[in-house]
């Protein structure tokens, strides 16, 4: 096939979001490579220069893609960051895994409502974020991590996020964050996916 590999890899990363490939995969240097902490694979992320990224849309007065329930989605992403960004003076990626119960305990500060609606909102938001690569959600193990797309945040973005991190409450049971295991993660407040309409 005559398609230039750079064009094809970039298009693949745009069509499907961050690509997870085996560690030895040869790919053009135009994509950001992010190693998994356990060296089990590599993520390839298409990150344009800051001026050519979606952050420039605000300056241009243009609307970006529509996100459903944008407030809940942003709050849940913030809660994931608060739990998974172990050292906010360093990079966000790869972060540490956090139990779902820890994430929802932070989310509850910003989205307190009746229990059923709270669970539905949290699960719908984490599904949206997982689908877009901002968050990695292991539904069975009840573990959450930051997704590879967070590596696309610029230094200026990270400055704002560090400020936000400092102002946010810590997770309930913070000691468990970062040492979460499959058994330890199955805590209280975990929504039953079967209850949640897509």
């Amino acid at each position: 096939m005559s398609v230039d590999p750079t064009a094809l890899w970039w298009a693949r990363a745009r069509a499907g979001g961050p690509l997870r490939v085996p560690a030895g995969t040869v790919a053009p240097d135009v994509l950001l490579r992010l190693g998994e902490p356990d060296a089990s694979g590599v993520w390839l992320v298409a990150v344009p220069p800051e001026q050519g990224g979606s952050g420039a849309l605000t300056e241009l007065g243009l609307a970006g893609p529509l996100v459903e329930q944008p407030n809940d989605t942003a709050r849940l992403l913030a809660a994931v960051l608060r739990c998974c960004w172990r050292d906010p003076t360093g990079p966000v990626w790869p972060g540490v895994p956090a139990p779902w119960s820890a994430v929802t305990s932070v989310f509850r500060h910003y989205a307190d409502r009746d229990e059923g609606a709270f669970r539905r909102a949290a699960v719908a938001a984490v599904r949206r974020l997982h689908g877009a690569g901002w968050v990695s959600w292991d539904e069975r193990a009840r573990l959450v991590r930051v997704g590879p797309r967070v590596a696309s945040w610029s230094a200026a973005d990270l400055t704002v996020l560090r400020e936000m991190y400092r102002q946010m409450p810590a997770a309930v049971g913070e000691a468990a964050v970062g040492e979460a295991s499959v058994s330890g993660a199955a805590g209280n407040g975990v929504p039953d996916p079967a209850e949640v309409g897509a």
């Binding site: 499907g16 001026q51 050519g52 990224g53 893609p65």
Partner: protein, 233 residues
């Protein structure tokens, strides 16, 4: 200027700083904005020389400029790249999603166009498809239709419109989404032909479509567009 990004340096390196900024702004606009961008708003869309640089930049990344309406621009996948993506990665949309999308396209575009109510070669429409109509004709469980619509909305392939003046509301109505504006002319034509083959396979028009195609490409799949990577920010 150097070192901003290996994929961008090749094209932008030859431009003065001011023009580089204009091309990058236009790149952000056509690549990330939800809707096509009027060319009057950006120099790199108005000016033919800068637009050619933008086109070279996009082409190096598997993309191309698309003009869905006069003086409006967006971007889409190059036709050869879209074909290769389909070959390498297969169809990204589940079959249920494709079925629901086709129903929206039939109700909102194909039927109005056949009645002369839509005259442009476009997949934009103001003729909404009510949810109750999708549920009645899809022959799928209601929960599956709703789940498919949620995924299609997230991908920008359909959009929800409020039902005005229709009383209690039956779950809203749907229009083709903004991502369909990103189809190249060749992709729009293929989609049109696939709809003809699906909706009226025994008509002379369908026979003409089949006759125009090489034998090995006459397959019954619905060539829906590749979705963009969804982004939550």
């Amino acid at each position: 200027m150097s070192g901003i990004h290996p994929a961008f340096d090749r094209v932008l390196g030859e431009l003065p700083d001011r023009h580089r900024d204009e091309v990058l702004a236009a790149f952000a606009a056509v690549e990330h904005a939800a809707h096509p961008v009027p060319e009057s708003t950006l120099l790199a869309l108005r000016d033919a020389t800068l637009r050619a640089a933008l086109q070279r930049l996009l082409a190096g990344l598997g993309r191309t400029l698309v003009q869905p309406a006069p003086q409006e621009w967006t971007s889409g996948y190059r036709d050869d790249v879209a074909a290769e993506l389909l070959r390498c990665d297969g169809q990204r949309l589940p079959v249920v999603d494709r079925a629901v999308l086709v129903l929206v396209l039939v109700h909102s575009v194909a039927i109005p166009r056949s009645q002369g109510a839509l005259d442009r070669d476009s997949w934009a429409s103001v003729h909404a498809t009510p949810l109750e109509e999708l549920q009645r004709y899809s022959q799928l469980p209601r929960t599956e239709v709703r789940a498919a619509l949620a995924r299609l909305r997230a991908a920008g392939l359909v959009q929800l419109v409020p039902e005005r003046g229709r009383g209690s509301g039956q779950g809203g109505a749907y229009l083709p989404g903004p991502q369909l504006q990103r189809l190249t002319p060749a992709a729009r034509r293929r989609l049109q032909e696939e709809l003809v083959l699906a909706a009226a396979p025994d008509t002379p028009l369908a026979a003409a479509v089949r006759a125009r195609r090489p034998k090995h490409t006459d397959t019954p799949h619905t060539d829906t567009p590749h979705t963009e990577g969804t982004s939550a920010s």
